[in-house]
Symmetry: D3
Subunit: 212 residues, 6 copies
Amino acid sequence: MKKISAWFRIILLSIIIHSASASDSDPLQDYCVPRPDLSPIFLACKNSSLVTVEDFVFSGIKSAGDSKKTGFSSIPVTAAVFPGLNTLGVSFVRADFEVGGVNVPHYHPRATEVAFVVEGKIYSGFVDSKNRVFAKVLEKGDVMVFPRGLLHFQMNVGNSRASIIGSFNSQNPGLVKIPSAVFGSGIMEGVLEKGFGLNAKELSKLRKKFSS
Amino acid sequence: MKKISAWFRIILLSIIIHSASASDSDPLQDYCVPRPDLSPIFLACKNSSLVTVEDFVFSGIKSAGDSKKTGFSSIPVTAAVFPGLNTLGVSFVRADFEVGGVNVPHYHPRATEVAFVVEGKIYSGFVDSKNRVFAKVLEKGDVMVFPRGLLHFQMNVGNSRASIIGSFNSQNPGLVKIPSAVFGSGIMEGVLEKGFGLNAKELSKLRKKFSS
Amino acid sequence: MKKISAWFRIILLSIIIHSASASDSDPLQDYCVPRPDLSPIFLACKNSSLVTVEDFVFSGIKSAGDSKKTGFSSIPVTAAVFPGLNTLGVSFVRADFEVGGVNVPHYHPRATEVAFVVEGKIYSGFVDSKNRVFAKVLEKGDVMVFPRGLLHFQMNVGNSRASIIGSFNSQNPGLVKIPSAVFGSGIMEGVLEKGFGLNAKELSKLRKKFSS
Amino acid sequence: MKKISAWFRIILLSIIIHSASASDSDPLQDYCVPRPDLSPIFLACKNSSLVTVEDFVFSGIKSAGDSKKTGFSSIPVTAAVFPGLNTLGVSFVRADFEVGGVNVPHYHPRATEVAFVVEGKIYSGFVDSKNRVFAKVLEKGDVMVFPRGLLHFQMNVGNSRASIIGSFNSQNPGLVKIPSAVFGSGIMEGVLEKGFGLNAKELSKLRKKFSS
Amino acid sequence: MKKISAWFRIILLSIIIHSASASDSDPLQDYCVPRPDLSPIFLACKNSSLVTVEDFVFSGIKSAGDSKKTGFSSIPVTAAVFPGLNTLGVSFVRADFEVGGVNVPHYHPRATEVAFVVEGKIYSGFVDSKNRVFAKVLEKGDVMVFPRGLLHFQMNVGNSRASIIGSFNSQNPGLVKIPSAVFGSGIMEGVLEKGFGLNAKELSKLRKKFSS
Amino acid sequence: MKKISAWFRIILLSIIIHSASASDSDPLQDYCVPRPDLSPIFLACKNSSLVTVEDFVFSGIKSAGDSKKTGFSSIPVTAAVFPGLNTLGVSFVRADFEVGGVNVPHYHPRATEVAFVVEGKIYSGFVDSKNRVFAKVLEKGDVMVFPRGLLHFQMNVGNSRASIIGSFNSQNPGLVKIPSAVFGSGIMEGVLEKGFGLNAKELSKLRKKFSS
């Protein structure tokens, strides 16, 4: 019986782990905390008698991620790492910047972001679909909104570390970082050479840099 | 001509100021900053050439509201006070607590809330629709989620001031504070006496307290 | 084989019974009647060849619930008891009132309600988020709408029994009854004492009354 | 000034009366009762200080419409006739049947319907998109659901008058009656002859019957 | 073990094949290609490492369906036949017409359609819910839009074959063909005789024609 | 009077032309064709008696745009140029490629795209949010789907002109072309140098190329 059980769980897991469906629309119940033994699942809610307050509290962004190497670190907290968010239509992120650190141009395909400056001076902006930049230096306590799907970026222009908390109106906003998505993903050379007006050598350098 | 213009604006304003429609669904454009001269409007976007970065930055929660008298203060930032949020499906709030200060049981009819503890020790919880309480003491850096439409509450149980930033997945989440909505709104005595098992004197005391 | 089957069903049930996902948005098919042997499920539709007209007809509100003891009874009919509603974005309720019976202040976190008076004279109202009450005595044939998420209440002010049919624009509108959610759920005393301006004795009486 | 005012109102009315936009998604405020002097409008909410309980109560379906001539009458109550429904995502209808009266095959493009039998015996059914009929005789107190966009129909098969209250999860569900939409709208003969396998004479008879 | 596996898959399949839930709202992830071995499923996404470009390309409408017999053929491509569309909120159809061929009056309960004329002259139109027809002859390169849920129809009025590509804003728009839904589904005679003003003989002829 | 009318229209226009609100959710009426004299408006529908079939037919993509200079041309058809699409949740585009022509990496923030190859051989692909490329050469009659918000691109790899018709599930999908949004919009040098690992000279060359 044990054996079957194990085999059963593997199949179930493989089905459920990648399941999806749904959307960030109105929930159909108060909450739907995924079963912890099958986590992360987005199909099967825990029996509500097993749900505790810990399912709705997240303590993983008390300290910054490691930004030593690149000058920037981020800890995205979606329903994948904080299952209690499942079906609730929200998620969040902590971002930390060394002096001069940069959050490269990126966008979230499925959410608007509200960014609160916890500390530091951060040049922060977005580009609308007419190629206009809206950017300025934010200070502690400032809040900026990045409309859904638009390119945005940030840079620590102060002389001490900086930190931001961002909130999203989706449980899984998605993240597309332009440099790696364009130059590190393997798009055919011809498309990139013509698209960016680069010669083979220039392109090759960029591709090397961003291929993982 | 001046006269007509003034008269025209009054009519227009009276129409538009209270306009509404729409919903927190997908936006139909990058953003829709309401015209500043007719603000707050939710119908007519500013010509995008008049939109500036200031439309997307809010600096009004750098310092706490006044919580001296009641022990608690909050600064809700919806599209009504930060017009750039219009159509973007997000808003936020800053809440500050004196020692022992209480954010009374309340709910937001149109949004889930994510609460970040900026400083302090805050007992924080919500009640699901089966009357179960999920509550615990949060500390600096903790994050708690309050599912859409559910009753929640907070109390500063530390020995210094406390502060929270909350985010909502609606540009206008709404706020129903239970004590004043129930006892300060003028619901017929009979309903409240029977509903809460109060006698006339007890009810009268509560009504006096919460009527404004 | 039998054994495994039983065991399999138990696991499956425990997963599915509490499943959720989805939302009251546009359906993806004509209907999705949950499989009866695994009911209530909101994931797996019955094979449509097994669906019959009985799946779409509900006969359980032909007579009133028992309102003798408290003066009020209600029979909520959501997708949990009428599975054919699954994915269709609607549900309903029958409420019956003895003379003087009260439907205590409550709200539905996920739906607007339309209430039809089938018989009787019913004082009926709601409170908006500015604490204004909108209430009046409804008579047979009157219809009143309670906007999504707002507090509402009813009382039979006639001299015979009264009855109402309510309709919701969600398959699971949720129900938060204020007296029991606030005083019967176990919210920490300090929060309630400060929040409602009650002393320990007054609060204790209310808590006793509404704790189940 | 009077003149201009009149002229102004005419323009405004002509713009606003046919306005629309929006959708049955989450509301952005508690309610949005259209301004009564410009009704029906779906853009400009009344100043909430002018809103009264009468805006949320409808008394126009206390008695049946006139079903003498055709055996059937219906009073649809959408936001167009009950403005308080604006943005709330619900509407309703009263239908009355003489003995043998028929509610012809029709559908609502934008809503699911829940039908409550107030009195009488009503054969009631719908057709799914695989052309299966789900139909049965409903009696007083029975409830049937018609999924969004599917063809449905009703017939009084009892020997006394019958009456139904229907509820919709849209403020404007729409109504397409098949006989008049197909044969009374002026679709080119060739399409109907080939589509229904009718000869010119048969078609002509049907078109005469349903052209208004 | 083999046996159990087979039996397990049958159960799982029977559950999943008819599953549904969800809706055409915002996706919760980039894509969710259903597992191919359990297809068509709308619950369990393939592990993304198994997803290939072939999951997002469809080659089944390169040539026309067989329109010889009836003068018309259509190949609807929904998520059921092109699983990669799952959760993406789109689908499409290819329709081909012999000279004089007719696409009978029909509607899609869950989508607006955009129709591109690839070749030919096609009389094309729809009926709004006030029974007004909007129709004209479209030529190669013309595009016409059919609003969600409204009756529409097409006829090849040129003297060569015609072809159309239609796109929908739902992964499963649904299709209700009026002639067969009304006369071929088995709706009770009384309803149709009264509804369409047909005598028993006329009705019988129509029913015979459209019953399958 | 004339004067006022002109002045009135200017104000009205300036308000309405940039209005927006709304969303691609369920429409609230059959259609809402904007008033032609105030076009493009998304608030005020034409009186339906003034609506004609021409409002629902678009003939502007019968021939290709001019792709001589750059090798690529596109004609996006949103509600802005085809007002009848307003509230219907769909739009489309025609794209034409010279031999070797490239549609640069871009994305649509608010829609999934379905692309039909009308003629030619087109290398076509997208990048998911894990930086995986899904690409292949499409031929006449092939259909490819690009999930909402993901980067995609195309290149004519055949030896004759190529042409595509794309459909979107939004009336205004938006378009962000990466090369010009990143290098032609004026994002601060520091962000781009660090973000892409470019030196000042390399960056300057790219900025010159894409600044308009």
